[in-house]
């Protein structure tokens, strides 16, 4: 946007400059929602056995202004009904000693800051990268975001992961115990950050 003026025809730039100076500070305005107690669960169903686990300590931050969302949880935080299953999950499959966290970084489409100023339910799509077991995979997900009257934001997303995509090795002997596609459910109760 380079407009060429002759020197004596330059408009008064001062208001524009003042606006430019102020603009960065408006970008820093807080329109972020966060939680430390998000719930992520996964379910694997096979004829031999079902495997289910839940993690109640997922951390997530959502910036409504830019649509950026980040998500992190400790693999050791997944609780199983059988403690031996939990030990095997961490020791043998996810190798949580080497890769302790699962991280998702993405962008939410279909919602703006203005949408969140009033209560309502919105369908959104999230495009981003999930990194776990040291492998990053691009995911395109569909979810819902629900703003209630009290200002609490509930986000929900259901998707499917394949263990092979994340280089999780499953011995042939037990391959039938673990589903090819694992159903993952994410439920977050986000609160506005101060």
């Amino acid at each position: 946007m380079i407009i060429v003026y002759r020197k004596n025809q330059l408009p008064n730039m001062k208001p524009l400059l003042l606006l430019l100076l102020v603009l960065p500070f408006t970008l820093c305005a807080q329109d972020r929602y966060a939680t430390r107690t998000g719930e992520v669960s996964f379910f694997s169903a096979t004829p031999i056995e079902n495997i289910q686990a839940v993690n109640h300590k997922a951390a997530s931050v959502f910036d409504a202004a830019t649509g950026a969302v980040e998500f992190s949880l400790l693999m050791k935080g997944f609780e199983f009904e059988k403690s031996l299953m939990q030990e095997h999950f961490n020791e043998n499959y996810m190798e949580s000693g080497t890769w302790p966290k699962g991280v998702f970084k993405g962008k939410v489409q279909g919602i703006t800051s203005d949408d969140l100023k009033k209560p309502g339910k919105h369908d959104v799509t999230v495009a981003g990268e999930l990194t776990m077991h040291g492998v990053a995979q691009h995911l395109d997900l569909k979810g819902t975001v629900d703003m209630d009257a009290a200002g609490a934001l509930t986000a929900a997303c259901d998707f499917v992961v394949k263990p092979e995509d994340y280089k999780i090795t499953i011995p042939g002997v037990v391959r039938g115990h673990i589903a090819e596609e694992i159903q993952v459910k994410v439920r977050l109760d986000l609160r506005k950050m101060q």
């Binding site: 430019l20 966060a34 997530s60 931050v61 959502f62 969302v69 400790l74 050791k76 043998n92 037990v174």
Partner: protein, 311 residues
């Protein structure tokens, strides 16, 4: 002047957009407490206790078997023909710190019971504890018929307490990495009745045990118990040494090893081992551990929480 203002404005815009990249850092440090787990694959190294204890609500069925001496030669199939000693035991986890167990060995028809408590737990995150400290107290009772007891004599009163021995042990250990864990076990074995005047009822000992994980499911273990010197006439006794592998499958842990101790309770393997490992008096043995989840304490806690929420 205008050029300077434009530059400053653009720099501030650039700064503001970059500051939004790492959103999660805004949440601050995660302070949830994560205790170290799986330092050893199971609650015993080979004969002795490891710093692990059975998870709450879980029953661990343990079957221990020792064959005969390898030095008994080919005609005895290098010990496979026996005589064999076995122990069948059940360990139960009461809480994440407390475990109890009971077992019976055919060696001297001994029934034993134990309590193990984790005083300190090594922490990965959220607290500062570099090692695990567990304490074990166990008691073993010889249940042979009176006439079969080694000290039986018709003209002597035998007290039931003569059959009882105790073991008190502290286990101090650390998981150094995903593959290496090590622990030391200072302890005291108390025998209510000993053979001669020169034998001591109380024997101080110190053990050391370690494991090295070779693959995700295979580990090599070694364990040694050293009875401190100058504790009575012990020339015929040896210190217990065992070396072996742990193989873990879905629900079982198989431990296969060579040891010089016949018995599987503390009085026997710490205080009364007679075989010399380095002279070939070695026994091949295996332990099988199978865990069953009896009840899930987290499920109970969650159901309570959900019940509270609904109200």
């Amino acid at each position: 002047m205008t050029k300077l203002l434009i530059t400053i404005a653009l720099c501030l815009v650039a700064f503001a957009t970059r500051a939004q990249d790492d959103l999660l850092n805004l949440l601050g440090k995660d302070s949830t407490v994560e205790y170290t787990n799986a330092s050893f694959k199971t609650t015993r190294v080979i004969n002795g206790h490891s710093l692990e204890s059975t998870a709450p609500g879980v029953l661990d069925v343990r079957i221990n078997h020792r064959f005969g001496l390898i030095s008994s030669g080919a005609v005895n199939a290098f010990g496979l023909d026996g005589p064999a000693t076995i122990r069948i035991g059940f360990d139960y986890g009461i809480s994440s710190r407390l475990m109890v167990g009971i077992g019976r060995s055919n060696f001297q028809k001994t029934v034993d019971g134990l309590v193990k408590y984790k005083v300190l737990r090594q922490c990965d995150q959220g607290c500062r504890m570099p090692l695990t400290l567990a304490v074990v107290a166990s008691m073993s009772v010889n249940t042979q018929r009176e006439q079969d007891l080694p000290w039986y004599s018709a003209d002597r009163t035998d007290f039931y307490t003569n059959r009882i021995s105790y073991n008190f042990q502290a286990i101090i250990g650390r998981k150094f990495s995903e593959s290496i864990s090590f622990q030391i076990m200072p302890g005291l074995v108390h025998r209510n009745l000993v053979s001669t005047e020169s034998d001591k009822n109380d024997l101080l000992n110190i053990g050391g045990a370690g494991r090295c994980k070779l693959t995700k499911r295979l580990a090599i273990n070694a364990e040694y118990f050293y009875v401190l010197p100058d504790q009575g006439a012990r020339s015929q006794y040896q210190n217990s040494l065992s070396v072996g592998f742990d193989i873990e499958t879905g629900g079982h842990v198989f431990q296969m090893f060579f040891t010089n101790s016949t018995g599987m309770f503390e009085r026997s393997y710490i205080a009364e081992t007679t075989n010399d490992f380095f002279k070939g008096d070695i026994l091949y043995g295996f332990n099988i551990s199978r865990v069953f989840t009896i009840h899930d304490p987290k499920k109970r806690a969650r159901e309570k929480e959900e019940g509270g929420k609904k109200q």
